[in-house]
């Protein structure tokens, strides 16, 4: 099967403009007769549902939280990029495009990335007009900062709560449409299946999480904006509810899954403190601007209090290995080096399962140089958060940090219109694979989510509706009935196993397997082992799972069990994809493919493509397809941060 990305040709600067002109429109009077389902109320889904509602479509919006405002986007701290060049420091649409393609280690589609860079400026305009209280300079204009190693200051932020403020903007726009009657909101509803008839997406099946009611919702088009699947690893910086169910169910109905192994690890998270750990907390990357990363030079000092380790006994390993970038090397490199030193026994902090997984991030020198007041002004709220969680005061004791799973670049394959391989099924935000290649740059996910929702979906969904003129099915259609029945069967099965183990215990075990074999560093032997072990764990899950209660009211164990069941399938695909991609690129580090000094070695001759997996039935190995990537505007080079 050839994957047609429907990418326009010609000069890159005019592609999106021309495509918008070519697209079909829908007469305003007809729009109210067309129903669009949007699953997810994060930046992508919230912005998309509000904008489609405003155009006059009948929109049904779904989320599993009790309110649309609580989608995981709310947790983003650092900021959102836009090529405004307010700082006059040489930024431009082309530079943002260039940085994103390069940062993604040449595994993203150029046309999509350029479009994203183009609309980035409109996003900021839109958000400011909605009342997003971005940080400002004394003159009253918008402030920027540099983020994630970028050489220009193009990041807009609202204290450490950028995601929250952007989401509240989208949520309020959504509430406005609900008030106007164009959007119907279904909170505490979980999508458990996609309805596909005659090869096109026709609706979804949901469970009302309060009453347990299973119901079909039919529409002319379906948008999934259901976020990332980082929680497959159990411990991650994602909110506890983040899951893969919506996109996994769509995968099983025929949507291709692209680059599942591209999972990003964030270097500065608070380390695991014990077996009870339920999630990991991200500490903003900005801390690396002033903190110095070190571990003891001698493994036997690992358990010592840090102040007892004198200067000559400390190894500032990032400064030693990367004299130019030092503590500011990109996320993937900072993460891998931390893993290396801990694996070699130099890690610090609590011993969990026999290993100390933590390195120091020390502000002693910054405090001496700048004074405590300046450090407090820059990082006060982060230090406070750290102290709240660890009980340690980072003004006196160095912070301990360790990498954690943070973001998934992989997701459902989409074309230039954000449409999956199932006609009528659109995928937006972190749930799709499109813009970040093998590694996402800081502050680019918020940009992509809002870009997809406000400025891409309204055009491309309209085009589909105008061009294809799909019809809505009746609830009596046999395929609709069968989808509903299948969901009920699955839930009944989960409830009736009657084993001994909790959903969480399986989830933790899966997470450990994936982290060990498909985490920061991967190799063929480990991946092959995981491809055997994950299905074994899945089999045990269906024999020994215990879900108390019933399906007819709020049952959080049942919700969790359903999500873990899907993670257990996805986990295997992550490993298969990591094994098949026999190169290193971006966050995907195959130990077999590294340069002499331990950096990722790409293999453009064999792997300059997107891997898109097709479901082939339970128990069968999914089929791997490829979309070849060509780079007309940015020449692939080797990254170097020495």
């Amino acid at each position: 099967m050839t994957l047609d990305a429907k990418v326009p040709s010609g000069p890159i600067e005019t592609r999106w403009q021309r495509r918008r002109f070519e697209m079909k429109l829908v007469n305003p009077a007809n729009r109210r007769n067309l129903t669009v389902i949007v699953v997810g109320t994060g930046l992508a889904g919230g912005a998309g549902a509000a904008s489609l509602g405003e155009l006059g479509y009948r929109v049904k919006s779904f989320c599993f939280q009790d309110s649309a405002r609580r989608a995981h986007s709310i947790a983003a701290q650092g900021g959102i990029n836009a090529a405004k060049n307010y700082q006059n420091d040489g930024d431009s649409v082309f530079r943002l495009f260039y940085d994103t393609v390069k940062g993604g280690d040449f595994r993203a589609r150029e046309s999509n990335v350029h479009r994203l860079a183009e609309i980035s400026a409109n996003i900021i305009d839109q958000c400011v007009a909605q009342g997003v209280p971005f940080a400002r300079e004394y003159g009253g204009l918008l402030a920027n900062r540099s983020f994630g190693g970028a050489q220009v200051s193009r990041t807009f932020y609202a204290r450490g709560q950028t995601g929250q403020q952007l989401l509240l903007g989208a949520y309020q726009a959504l509430e406005r449409q609900i008030d106007a009657g164009s959007v119907t909101m279904y909170p505490r509803h979980e999508m458990l299946d996609l309805i596909v008839v005659d090869g096109a997406a026709r609706g979804i099946v949901t469970r009302d999480l309060v009453t347990g009611k299973i119901e079909p919702h039919l529409a002319h088009a379906v948008v999934l904006a259901t976020g990332g699947y980082g929680n497959a690893f159990y411990l991650s910086t994602n909110a506890k509810g983040c899951n893969t169910t919506a996109i996994w169910r769509a995968f099983r109905k025929g949507a291709f899954f692209a680059n599942p192994c591209f999972t990003q690890i964030h270097p500065t998270c608070i380390p695991v403190s014990g077996a009870h750990q339920s999630k990991l907390t991200l500490m903003s990357e900005s801390l690396r601007n002033d903190g110095r990363v070190w571990v003891p030079k001698r493994a036997l000092d690992a358990g010592k209090a840090p102040e007892k380790i004198p200067e000559p006994e400390r190894d500032y390993y990032l400064e030693r290995l990367y004299p130019t970038f030092g503590n500011l090397v990109p996320r993937d490199i900072a993460s891998r080096r931390a893993k290396d030193v801990c694996d070699q026994g130099f890690g610090v902090g609590a011993e969990v399962s026999g290993v100390r997984r933590g390195v120091y991030l020390d502000f002693r020198d910054a405090i001496a140089r700048l004074g405590e007041a300046v450090v407090r002004e820059r990082y006060g709220n982060l230090f406070e958060m750290y102290e709240r969680i660890t009980g340690e005061d980072p003004y006196r004791v160095p912070m301990r940090i360790y990498p954690a799973i943070h973001y998934t670049m992989g997701g459902l394959w989409v074309d230039y219109h954000l449409m999956s391989t199932i006609p009528g099924l659109f995928v937006a935000g972190e749930a799709n694979f499109s813009d970040h290649g093998a590694n996402r740059l800081g502050a680019s996910a918020l940009m992509q989510g809002l870009g997809d929702g406000y400025f891409v979906l309204p055009y491309t969904v309209s085009h589909y509706l105008g061009d294809e003129r799909p019809v809505v099915l009746s609830e009596d259609h046999p395929e609709v009935k069968e989808s509903v029945k299948a969901v009920k069967r699955r839930l009944k099965r989960l409830l009736s196993i009657g084993g001994r183990r909790t959903p969480d215990s399986f989830h933790r075990e899966l997470g450990r397997l994936l982290w060990d074999h498909s985490g920061m560093a991967r190799n063929a032997a480990g991946l092959e082992r995981a491809i055997v072990k994950v299905p074994e764990l899945r089999a045990e899950f269906y024999e020994d799972l215990r879900v108390p209660g019933s399906g007819s009211d709020l049952n959080q164990s049942l919700e969790r069990a359903g999500r873990v069941a899907d993670f257990l399938e996805l986990g295997e695909l992550v490993c298969r994809d990591a094994l098949a991609r026999d190169e290193s690129c971006g966050c995907h580090f195959r130990e077999e493919h590294q340069t002499a000094d331990g950096e990722a070695a790409r293999d453009d001759a064999r792997f300059s493509h997107v891997a898109a997996w097709e479901f082939a039935g339970d128990g069968a190995v999914p089929r791997r397809h490829r979309e070849e990537l060509t780079f007309e505007f940015v020449k692939p080079t080797q990254r170097s941060y020495k």
Binding site: I74, Q130, Q161, T502
Partner: protein, 261 residues
Amino acid sequence: MTRSMRLVLDVWRQKGPKDPGGFVRYEAPDISPDMSFLEMLDVVNEGLTERGEEPIAFDHDCREGICGSCGVVIDGRPHGPLTATTTCQLHMRHFQDGDHVTIEPWRARAFPVIKDLVVDRSALDRIIRAGGYISIRTGSAPEANDVPVPKPDAEVAMDAAACIGCGACVAACPNASASLFLAAKLGHLHLLPQGLPEKDDRVRTMVSAMDAQGFGHCTNHRECEAVCPKGIGVAFIARMNRDFLIASVASRHEVMAHRRR
């Protein structure tokens, strides 16, 4: 090294909205001081599940103090003993070995219990729906830097916008009023020039939506401010009352102007 604690919990269990509900006692042995309060509940729930009993239902998601999902009343205080801290950010090192801890849901007329510690807070969404937004069409926004906002205004707007919509203010208020929640949204939108064109209408429709949702009135107990995990102050309520007064006077003028015509 790290000591482990044993706690006794009295937890509100309620099967559904119609069930009268009541306290059930649970032991929580082997609790590490490094756990968060919700991780402590996770441990209790894992034990219950293994025994085939239904775990205690509670809302949570980000576990970072930002989504506003979590929130229970701990020993009579919404979000527990620490100031400016959500339940998910409260750690067990603030408790002692042997402590008895009472855990209840938010209690307010406008927040019916769904199950155990989970309540229905959709009334807060309905308040926002009644005007808690700036009416701006996608794509019609002017260039962002065309409208400068004085930095002090932007800072105070951000203080108000920090509200996470958890509902602790309502749970703490003897009148179960949502005044602090509403005032925070109005404060956010009215400190920015973008929010001003719709100001009078907004304050009127949102205040009446709050009344319609069954929330009580503010009689200045200030319990809300004391429990707000984001430290939002009652000064925003004073500002809202002023704006409401102005808007009401304005609306009377409009009516009279209309009559004269």
